[in-house]
Symmetry: C2
Subunit: 323 residues, 2 copies
């Protein structure tokens, strides 16, 4: 859950007056995203999301994030579209913070997605990768393999306080990934955090993607690996190969995967598992139990990583069934 | 900020299907109220608030709260109106908790109300007191003078950890109030918590009252005293007599105050200040600094109480100017 910056009445009215959406008829702080303060605004023209960017989001990255949403929406993707104020700007300032207004998307995020939803996500992810073509800005993935080495160093032996043996596990895994990480694969703009809470559905059809605040440039297949981990495991952490098949097949139908990508997917999935394991372990150790931000369980990703370490080919992730 | 119970997809759909509002097109956890989990639901028929009652609200009190909102709305007050399901019930169950759907009210709560807003609140409070007539259920005010003695006892010397000398202050004040508390005044249903965050405005006109989860039966003038404390002090804790005048005048225009009420108001205001001082001090000591529920500063009410202790007549609260 997010930390909320409280917005003074006058400041909100003055901020909104710069956009062509009428006056604010309601304003509710919403529990969406953990990095920023988000408000759902009602106006005579409809609903909008007001985001105040808190310190966890680097100000220098905001033109990339807002520009990307603008670019993707223009390319036909269903995602929040930043509004432009009377001077044509997408980024403003409110209550001492960078702030933006984006369109509101209908839909519900699913707590227990089924295989048919995984197929929808696979297709949407491939569409996102296509839609990212031609976007002019770049942002390096600070949470890719170079960033993991830094996080492993920062965690050190303290990782064992999260789970006995974790320090050894992540050191060994990092070395293995450094040896096997692909040097070159098709790359482009990736979402990098397309978990179920960032995908909306209406009556089992995907209706929109949100939260582009981890988006960056990286291997496209790495984004697919993040989704495999986030969507295709059951609550008991077992891998559901039917969901894997649904996700991979639907993705490849819209953006075919080449041989190098197919071969790399198991190691990319291990990398994606390590990435979320590391940040969750770090947050676990550095966030008080009772904090405003809900801590996500790092152990979930220990279980997923251990499964992926046992995987030797993409067929074990569902590909064989669809090839 | 509230603690959120997460609602499973299927359970939400099944719950909402029992009401005549169509399917859910969006569902956002909102930061409104600290006692319950609240969601803003979008449907083809409009917006609704879904409330899941957490353990701080006694289940046995829910028929009173929901019945009261229903009664007040039927009497013409702008407040959330509970929806009835296909079997005519206002109270259901969702995710293992008592749950209800109420209508959504447009409007914004003000962070810095002005005298004109205090007048609006005075009028609305008097209308609420009129509208409460004939409501069949009763609920004793557990946070009235008998409850304060219990809270003073629970706090004990620990109160000095909130502020040096607080234990002595509250013990002495409680004794003074027990001696001076009115025995009999016009009574009825009161809101008991009509702070600025529970009042919505649209373009400076009051548009609705929310959060009836402290409502109970007590002296009507005590409700006015709560509002005097909540609306008529400045951020520096000084009393603004113009706001006091606006609130009292507007209230009395709609529901005239008798001599006993006018005479009792200063002591009622002291009692109302002690009530919020005690619960805030208790929460301060028993809520971790980093908890999900935002702690409210008890010292604000020490300052207010000290001012009110110096007040000898209602004229010092703004009444003289309007009489």
């Amino acid at each position: 859950m997010a930390v909320y910056t409280e917005v003074p009445d006058d400041a909100l009215a003055a901020f909104v007056a710069r956009y062509n959406i009428g006056h604010v008829t309601s304003c509710k702080g919403i529990a969406e995203g953990v990095e920023n303060s988000n408000y759902l605004l009602g106006t005579p023209k409809g609903s909008y999301i007001l985001t105040l960017y808190e310190k966890r989001v680097a100000r220098g990255d905001l033109p990339f994030f807002l520009g990307l949403m603008d670019h993707l929406a223009a390319a036909g993707l269903s995602c929040p579209t930043p509004l432009r104020d009377s001077s044509g700007q997408m980024l403003g300032e409110l209550a001492g913070r960078p702030a933006a207004l984006v369109t509101f998307l209908d839909g519900l995020s699913l707590r227990r997605p089924q295989a048919k939803h995984c197929a929808e996500v696979g297709e949407a992810l491939a569409e996102l990768h296509h839609a990212g073509h031609g976007f002019g800005l770049k942002r390096a993935n600070s949470l890719s393999i170079a960033g993991w080495a830094e996080l492993v160093g920062k965690l050190g032996d303290a990782a064992d306080r999260v789970h006995p043996g974790l320090a050894g596990l992540i050191t060994t895994e990092l070395k293995a990934l450094q040896a096997d990480w692909p040097k070159s694969l098709p790359d482009g703009v990736i979402h990098a955090d397309l978990f179920p809470n960032n995908v909306f559905f209406m009556a089992d059809r995907l209706s929109g993607l949100i939260d582009f605040y981890f988006a960056c440039n990286d291997f496209l297949a790495y984004d697919l690996a993040v989704c495999l981990n986030a969507w295709c495991f059951e609550e008991d952490r077992s891998f559901n190969i039917t969901k894997g098949q649904a996700l991979l097949t639907a993705y490849a139908k819209t953006r075919p995967l080449n041989q190098a990508e197919l071969q790399a997917l198991p190691v990319l999935a291990r990398g994606a598992a390590l990435r979320f394991l590391l940040t969750r372990a770090y947050d676990w150790l550095h966030t008080p139990e009772t904090a405003l931000v809900k801590r996500l369980d790092p152990k979930e990703y220990i279980r997923k990583l251990r499964f992926l370490q046992s995987v030797s080919s993409i067929r074990e992730l569902g590909w064989e069934l669809s090839a």
